[in-house]
């Protein structure tokens, strides 16, 4: 029997990403090619034009703030015009512009790149790491997303996987993955809570585990609450203090902002183990009116950090309480509370969790690796029949449709186990109404427009009758792959319309197709770049040779018939070659090299002939 195709689980995090697999019944992290378990989710384009991913991209972030993209997960599958996105964009050191359908485009080295492409660059890096580990190609992966991600964000993540050349077996929720890793290979049973405060998002899930079945009871969270927000509070404090002393807003300077960001994150992490840190940023800016450069120097205490972020910590507990209520469990009925995400290292967070859950949180799992390990467990369970692991996951947000008066009618409530479907009867709201519009909404609001619109379609040709007489049966469905679909049927005529919901905030199928197709695409450059460089070298060498021979050929053939044509075309090729060398088009470079090689051969021929005539 041939060895089975490898499968991996990937935690595509806001700050760091991790890839893991199951080997010999054990879930394990695959270290990247530099030997680290965590790969920073950072993509940059260096001044040289080289694309950088991971640690190497992080290292040059301070000197290249505009072309270094971090925390792109907070942008994935979102709409440009929403207020929270607008708020968030202000804190970024790279530029984001609106795309064609209210999506976001990141400006990277002068090009507009979609968010899934950035995520894809990180995924591809992890793929290469895993391939180096397995020693053979890898295509199959389970990728995790925050439990509270909506459909658009999930689809966009799936797109990223596709762009990276991965067959995404399943998108699963991060807290669920953490629970899988926690319970895998152990004979645990009972209810547990997973408290996941990561770099960008907060999630909490309550699960019941029994003999390998992981039954999610409820899940909730906030997709814009995480370590980044803690960092931003620190940055704000530093910026505010600096403005008070010098009257200068450091946020206007992208380089300064990036340095502040780095310093804030570092200070926050250090304050988890020490009581006070010194923040030292020499030459942070030069005053606008001239004069010597200014430095930022400040002591920062743990109390200060806790004071600045108290409301963020409090918010996590409020959400936790709400989710426990939905799961119908009291904190004391839980068997265990598992802490996930780097932010749960903060003492204040642990304190709050301890107080609310009235117990010591579980320390048996690695907060930054557990999600990837769980994703690997699920990837293994799906592809290995003998696995005893079964995940019964839920839909994190309600699905409903818009009804008359601008309200939303919920068809599938949140925390319903998937796959699931619901059918309900609706009627026309106006006399002689012959058309109804079905708008598929995701969210908890009673007001239609406050929910996320996943898709819409029309059902035409209804019988003309007074309102309330025509009955329309609407069915909503979420299949086991998490794909949402809706259909409407006129009970009388049997006429039917349906849609399968695809990305709205992410890429359109066309755009995705284009990205997948175009091999010249920017994000596909890593492999091509090598070829480009070697071709350039070759061209350069040829140019040098031609330039060396040119004066000699000119001298030899001066005035003769040959000279006019051949010299002219030779000079043209030379010119073309120099131009091609400046550009980055592989085709032009190859073409020029060919031309110049021909010129070179002609020149050599002339010299040889003349040389043999003239001893």
């Amino acid at each position: 029997m041939p060895e089975r195709e490898p499968v991996v689980g990937i935690d595509l995090g806001t700050t760091n990403s991790v890839v893991a697999t199951v080997r010999d019944g054990q879930a394990m992290v695959i270290a990247n090619r530099t030997g680290q378990n965590l790969t920073p989710s950072i993509v940059a384009v260096a001044k040289s034009g080289k694309r950088l991913v991971g640690q190497i991209a992080k290292r040059q972030a301070v000197t290249n703030p505009e072309d270094t993209v971090y925390a792109s997960k907070r942008l994935i599958g979102r709409k440009y015009s929403t207020e929270r996105v607008q708020q968030y964009l202000k804190t970024l050191s790279y530029r984001v512009v609106p795309g064609d359908h209210d999506d976001l485009r990141i400006v990277l080295a002068g090009r507009e790149v979609t968010v899934p492409e950035i995520s894809a660059a990180v995924l591809r890096e992890l793929k290469l790491d895993a391939e180096a580990y397995f020693g053979r190609p890898l295509t199959k992966a389970v990728i995790t997303v925050p439990a509270y991600f909506n459909d658009g964000q999930r689809q966009a993540t799936k797109d990223a996987g596709k762009i990276a050349g991965l067959d995404v077996l399943r998108i699963i929720n991060e807290p669920t993955a953490a629970a899988l890793a926690y319970g895998f290979g152990k004979n645990v049973s009972g209810k547990i809570a997973v408290f996941d405060l990561g770099g960008g998002t907060f999630d909490i899930s309550v699960l019941e585990i029994s003999k390998g079945v992981f039954d999610v009871a409820a899940t909730g969270g906030d997709t814009l609450l995480g370590g980044e927000d803690f960092d931003n509070r620190v940055i704000e404090a530093l910026v505010f203090g600096f403005a008070k002393d010098h009257g200068i807003d450091l946020r206007k300077d992208r380089m300064a902002l990036q340095r502040l960001k780095d310093a804030a994150e570092k200070a926050k992490i250090e304050l988890s183990s020490t009581k006070e840190v010194q923040i030292n940023l020499p030459f942070i800016c030069t005053p606008p009116g001239g004069g010597s450069a200014l430095h930022l120097q400040r002591a920062f205490t743990r109390e200060k950090l806790e004071e600045l972020t108290e409301d963020l910590c409090e918010k996590t507990i409020t959400i936790a309480d709400q989710v426990l209520g939905e799961a119908k469990v009291r904190p004391d009925q839980l068997r265990e509370v598992i802490l996930v995400g780097g932010m749960t290292r903060m003492p204040r967070v642990v304190e709050k969790v301890k107080k609310y859950f009235r117990r010591e949180p579980c320390k048996g799992v690695h907060p930054e690796e557990v999600v990837a390990l769980g994703a690997a467990v699920q990837a293994h369970a799906l592809t290995h029949e003998e696995s005893q692991v079964l995940l019964l996951d839920v839909t994190p947000q309600s699905l409903g449709m818009a009804i008359a008066g601008g309200y939303a009618r919920r068809l599938i409530p949140k925390n319903t186990t998937v796959p699931t479907s619901t059918t309900e009867l609706f009627t026309t709201s106006k006399d002689c109404q012959t058309t109804v519009k079905i708008m598929v909404l995701q969210g908890e609001s009673e007001i239609a427009r406050e929910n996320e619109l996943l898709g819409e379609f029309m059902l035409n040709g209804l019988r003309e009758a007074s309102r309330g007489e025509v009955e329309i049966e609407v069915t909503f469905e979420i299949n086991s792959e998490g794909i949402v679909s809706a259909s409407a049927c006129d009970k009388e005529t049997g006429q039917q319309q349906s849609i399968t919901v695809t990305a709205t905030g992410g890429l359109t199928p066309d755009e995705l197709g284009k990205i997948l197709e175009s091999q010249s695409d920017y994000l596909m450059e890593d492999r091509q770049l090598e070829e480009l460089n070697s071709r350039k070298e070759q061209l350069e060498a040829t140019i040098r040779e031609v330039q060396d021979l040119l004066p000699k050929v000119k001298q030899i053939t001066g005035g003769s018939e040959f000279g006019v044509d051949a010299l002219k075309s030779g000079e043209e090729s030379l010119h073309g070659g120099i131009e091609a060398l400046k550009g980055r088009s592989l085709a032009a470079i190859v073409h020029s090299t060919d031309q110049l090689t021909r010129t070179l051969n002609a020149f050599r021929g002339v010299i040889q002939r003349v040389g043999s005539q003239d001893p």
């Binding site: 079964l390 019964l392 319903t416 186990t417 796959p419 699931t420």
Partner: protein, 320 residues
């Protein structure tokens, strides 16, 4: 993974070449069929009044069998939809029964499900007390409690089967098999009851088909005959009839051919079946094969009306 070959029977016309063995296919088919008639307790193999913990346990057990992820990226054909349907049903039952509010509403709407069937009255208070003690002891011991329930279900299933109520018998035995999936006795009984039940249903369907054909509702007749043929794979008449009506209504010619072939395989000496097969083959454009079947059939029964039609004198082949 391949479909196991069963040399003793003709290939079932509607059995799909998928990654599920025949037993599992039959199990899923029959469960899917009775799904609509089961209440929330029955679906999970529980008796009314089951506790929250019992519901959860039964639900997790059933999920292991019917959650679509257990068949991830397998070729399941039409069975994927069936499995999803079954899982949605058990998951709905679990959702209702473990939510106090929803369970209350459900039990109010179905008063007969409010509690376990009443125990027969005991002669003396003393005995009642002892029996109570015994029962609590059983309840504490999960295996014994389950065993009791199991025996009760098996007995009831057998009784129903004897009384000819195969539907009920199947429900009880199905519940029993959910409680104890590895029990061979239950499995054998279940298979037997399922088989008898299907034969019974097949003959009903056959009758219904004949009536529908008589009144000219060919579509309904076709559906009934195909159903009968699928449930009773040894019934040549059902197969032949199904083929004939599929042909007449212009549906699924491939299925018609398989059914006609099955009829011939089951009763090779019946001219009717041969003619049917021949007609189907001819309609599919396989004239040579059709011709052979016509010849065979005519050999068997030269007086068959169809044969006469066919055996028109051949046109002269002389060219001069």
């Amino acid at each position: 993974m391949t479909h196991p070959v069963r040399p003793d029977s003709a290939p079932p016309a509607s059995a799909e070449d998928i990654d599920l063995d025949a037993d599992r296919q039959a199990e899923i088919l029959s469960l899917d069929r009775i799904l609509g008639g089961l209440n929330h307790f029955e679906v999970l193999g529980l008796s009314p009044g089951a506790s929250n913990a019992q519901v959860k346990k039964a639900y997790h057990e059933a999920s292991r069998r019917y959650h679509p992820d257990r068949y991830f990226q397998k070729n399941l054909g039409s069975f994927r939809a069936r499995i999803e349907r079954i899982f949605k049903r058990i998951s709905e039952a679990n959702a209702v029964l473990t939510d106090p509010q929803r369970r209350k509403e459900y039990e109010q709407a179905h008063p007969e499900l409010r509690s376990a069937p009443a125990q027969p009255a005991r002669a003396s208070a003393d005995e009642a007390r002892r029996s109570q003690e015994r029962r609590t002891r059983f309840a504490k011991h999960p295996y014994l409690a389950r065993g009791n329930r199991l025996n009760e279900l098996i007995a009831r299933g057998k009784e129903s089967a004897k009384a000819g109520d195969f539907g009920r018998a199947y429900t009880d035995l199905h519940m029993a098999s959910q409680l104890d999936p590895k029990n061979h006795e239950i499995h054998a009984l279940l298979t037997e009851v399922r088989h008898t039940h299907e034969l019974q249903r097949a003959s009903e369907e056959l009758k219904r088909g004949m009536e529908a054909e008589k009144i000219g509702d060919l579509i309904a007749a076709a559906k009934s005959f195909v159903g009968a043929a699928n449930m009773d794979k040894k019934n040549a008449l059902a197969a032949s009839k199904a083929a004939s009506l599929l042909l007449k209504t212009g549906q699924d010619p491939k299925e018609a051919r398989a059914l006609a072939q099955r009829a011939v395989d089951l009763e090779p000496n019946k001219a009717d079946h041969r003619f049917m097969l021949a007609t189907v083959l001819e309609a599919a454009g396989m004239t040579r094969l059709a011709h052979r079947q016509f010849e065979e059939a005519t050999k068997m029964n030269p007086n068959h009306p169809e044969a006469k039609k066919r055996l028109k004198p051949k046109k002269s082949r002389w060219l001069f």
